[in-house]
Symmetry: C2
Subunit: 323 residues, 2 copies
């Protein structure tokens, strides 16, 4: 059974209203060296500067804000060891409600401390998908908290789509009209929200996605026309390991023009280029997109002139850089 | 004999006009975690995102732009192995005139390649101040090029002051009125330009400076009231090794409220904090300022509420991070 999402531009605009004055309007940056390498103008939406260091704050805040007071009072729950966990913890803290975060026992102490620093309660479980889901369901039953999926949730998807609305405006302020946008794809929350925002702005605005070869479920799904799960992912881009969801997949299938896969070597090269030349401190999962642009395969039919890039986040371990 | 600078706000405003559409209007960023640690609002002017990765582009471009066509045609010359070298090379390239950069034989191949990448001619010399000056004078005599000092030059100082004009506006856009500003101090180009800009905006706008303990000539000069040279500097903040100049010093003496010195350990801690929490990729010479703010000594008389910070640059060796 496939659930169908009715996500539309108005939902994203409403999310943008909720986020006004709450999320950072992160800067849009350009870098002449990268424009020259890419052969087109590139506008980076710097969500590494977003609260909690990633775009995930947008979707988490939007879903928490939409809860009724009575529902909200019982709190929110999710399973994540990544940026969504911190984002939901902060969004809950801002509303003054409890957040329960289910994490695998193997999650790093730093990530656990990050979530607890926002006042969330961490519940540890075995490091399997089944254990995560069972533990989250258990917390839901026990507390009455609302489950907020990291990406397969319409309010989360709407929140993530707001980054493109801002970038489109910001590019105009820099005298450019975006003719394309590209995002990384993991579970598809950012990509599906971006699709709806883009096509709402203009049906001519082309949408591309970038994915690591070591976790290429979206590219395989796209090629086959059938949702394919991700098993045994193996890539440095640790924010992109998950499978697409049944809400995000149909939107991606119907709106994306191409999904470009890149190797970890290309990802590390692109990451270093962004750090060195653009001084943008971004995580490997964000560098995937620049790697795809530099790979260049997708830009010729017809040529892209001005592309928006959502740089998804900047949460890296500074003691273990990949070069 | 002391030369006196007549630098005034109008010079800085004229420089800002010249830089419009040429230099980046770099973003002003805030970070709640750092506000909490600092005990006041902190507005970071992100000159790490400036062309060539440092504020130095402002001063270099302004001085090149002010040359008459006939003078400009013969080119410009400087001695520097740092950000000013790249900045002057780029400014000359943009005007289509030659740039001659005198560098010590010991300068890293990366820095040399950076300057040559902008089309400048590199002239190597022995790694002493006397050799640099003699070699630059020789180039000047041979080519007729105009010598552009890295900081002891009124047009350079005027250009550097433009960053504060922008930051003051940007803080207003974020509903804040700066009551203080702090910059790092090496030769004093940025600090003196900032002094004149600040006092031109409002005599009540307080100016502070931060300096590494291992190169504390400005603090010693300030304490004694007499210009003291820097000999044998020893600090990780390699952009702040030089002595004040006779043009920059009197402005600093008359307008700065305090110069705070910090240890290399404090600098590295502040640098990591900016990378980790604010995702701002800055060089040690920029972190000096946050180290001074966190040190806290200067902020109590009377308390600072909203401080502007010029983050001077982001040119670091990613293979040799200090943690």
């Amino acid at each position: 059974m496939t659930t169908t999402s009715k996500l539309c531009l108005a939902d994203i605009q409403a999310a943008a209203e909720r986020l006004k004055g709450v999320a950072h309007r992160t800067p849009a940056m350009t870098c002449r060296t990268i424009d020259e390498l890419a052969g087109c103008r590139v506008f980076f939406k710097c969500e590494n500067f977003q609260k909690v260091g990633a775009f995930k704050f947008r979707g988490a805040y939007n879903s928490v804000a939409k809860l009724s007071d009575e529902t909200a009072r019982r709190g929110v729950v999710t399973h994540s060891s990544g940026n969504h966990a911190q984002a939901l913890a902060l969004a809950a803290k801002m509303r003054g409600i409890p957040a329960y975060i289910v994490m695998p026992r193997t999650a790093s102490p730093v990530k656990r401390a990050g979530v607890e620093g926002y006042g969330a309660e961490v519940i540890l479980c075995e490091p399997t998908q089944a254990a995560r889901e069972a533990t989250a369901a258990d917390v839901e039953a026990r507390t009455g908290a609302t489950f907020i999926h990291p990406y397969n949730n319409q309010d989360v998807m709407a929140g993530q789509g707001t980054a493109l609305l801002e970038l489109h405006e910001q590019a105009k302020e820099l005298d450019a009209n975006l003719d394309a946008v590209i995002t990384p794809v993991g579970g598809g929350g950012l990509l599906s929200g971006t699709c709806v925002a883009a096509k709402g702005i203009s049906p001519q605005l082309r949408v591309f996605a970038a994915e690591p070869k070591g976790a290429d479920d979206a590219a395989r799904s796209f090629a086959s026309g059938q949702l394919q799960p991700q098993t045994g992912p193996n890539t440095i881009a640790d924010g992109l390991l998950t499978s697409l969801g049944d809400l995000t997949w149909p939107i991606i299938r119907d709106n994306v023009e191409a999904i470009i896969t890149v190797t970890d070597e290309q990802i590390v090269q692109a990451m270093r280029l962004l750090w060195e030349r653009a001084k943008l401190l971004i995580e490997p999962s964000s560098a995937v997109v620049l790697a795809a642009i530099l790979d260049g395969r997708f830009k010729e039919r017809p040529p892209v002139k001005a592309i928006g890039v959502i740089l998804s986040g900047g949460n890296v371990n500074l003691d273990k850089l990949p070069w």
